[in-house]
């Protein structure tokens, strides 16, 4: 009997946590690779993008100039009203600022990258086409003809669900 009782003294052995760092590191590396540090800065507009299914993925995010269009968030509504506005980087802008911004963005890239630059319009689904076509006219003026309308991936019928 004594022989067997000896085993009980140790209780259940502790689970080795030696591999815990490895697991955590694995997750860490995944998120490090997947992270894109936000360049757009503070979000000042409400943007709910429409859905579409004939979409392409943006490959090189670094070569994309983003232009946001939508209603200002609550905080800014007192100052800027609730009409749709344009946000470029951190600041509210008007349509005429779009051209200079795209040219500045283009100037900051290397020569071989310049033809690959895309301007992405991130607009809320309920904004009118007026403001969007103003932006497009500005883009045409500065010869930034590659445009991407940012959308969610999904059927267009989703746009009309209430």
């Amino acid at each position: 009997m004594g022989k067997f009782s000896k085993k009980k003294d140790g209780g259940t052995p502790a689970i080795s946590t030696a591999s815990l760092p490895d697991i955590v590191f694995m997750l860490l590396f995944f998120f490090m690779v997947a992270t894109v540090m936000r360049e757009s800065g503070e979000k000042k507009l409400i943007v709910k993008m429409p859905s579409a299914d004939q979409v392409k993925k943006i490959e090189k995010k670094g070569l994309v100039a983003f232009i946001n269009i939508g209603e200002p968030i609550k905080k800014y509504q007192a100052k800027y009203g609730s009409e749709p506005r344009i946000q470029i980087e951190d600041a509210f802008a008007s349509a005429t600022d779009v051209g200079p911004y795209v040219l500045k963005f283009k100037a900051s890239k290397r020569d071989e990258e310049k033809p690959l630059i895309i301007t992405s319009i991130k607009a809320d689904e309920n904004v009118g086409m007026g403001i969007i076509s103003d932006v497009k006219e500005e883009l045409r003026k500065v010869n930034a003809l590659k445009v991407n309308y940012s959308t969610n991936k999904g059927s267009v019928l989703k746009n009309f669900e209430k």
Binding site: A52, N126, N152
Partner: protein, 173 residues
């Protein structure tokens, strides 16, 4: 001298450090998927080039008003109808004398107002691209036995020349 046994460094806190970093990256990650519809804008108007004359029958006119109501060739339509109407129009090949002569000549014109909503425009545009993609894929299958995406650049050009995407946009007051 007595040899002291080298003590191992306790690696227990390694996990804590890794967790700290992990949580930092978890918080800063924006898993934003970036999808969108590509569009090439027409270059700025060149006054030295004359506007080409296009026969009215080769133009499919889509008009969207400020309340998002749509007229295609003066008949009321919804987003669901756009794809079929566009495909019929592009592949008419002169069958219906009031529709397009052939896919190369077919032009689709979207007229919108300043109040037209962006989602309506995107939906219509998406359906038109979808119509072209279906036709291009069909042609690619017939000619090369592969889907459009699998073709070489040269072959894609042949298909694109057969079904060029001619979509014109204009704003009405």
């Amino acid at each position: 001298m007595a040899k002291r046994k080298l003590e191992e460094i306790n690696a227990g806190s390694m996990a804590d450090i890794a967790f700290l970093l992990l949580i930092f990256f978890l918080v800063t990650t924006t898993m934003e998927s970036n999808y969108g519809i590509r569009r090439k804008l027409p270059p700025p108007p060149d006054p030295s080039v004359d506007i080409p004359v296009i026969k009215m029958k080769n133009v499919l006119e889509i008009v969207i008003n400020g309340q998002d109501k749509m007229l295609i060739e003066e008949k009321p339509a919804t987003v669901k109808d756009v794809k079929k109407i566009a495909m019929d129009f592009i592949t008419n090949n002169g069958k219906d004398p009031s529709s397009s002569d052939n896919p190369q000549k077919a032009v689709i014109s979207i007229k919108q107002m300043r109040e037209t909503s962006y989602k309506e425009y995107i939906s219509v545009y998406n359906e038109l691209i979808s119509a072209y993609n279906v036709l291009r894929n069909k042609y690619a299958q017939k000619k090369f036995g592969k889907s459009f995406d699998q073709l070489t650049e040269e072959q894609q050009k042949t298909v694109k020349d057969f079904y060029p995407q001619k979509i014109a946009e204009s704003m009405t007051k």
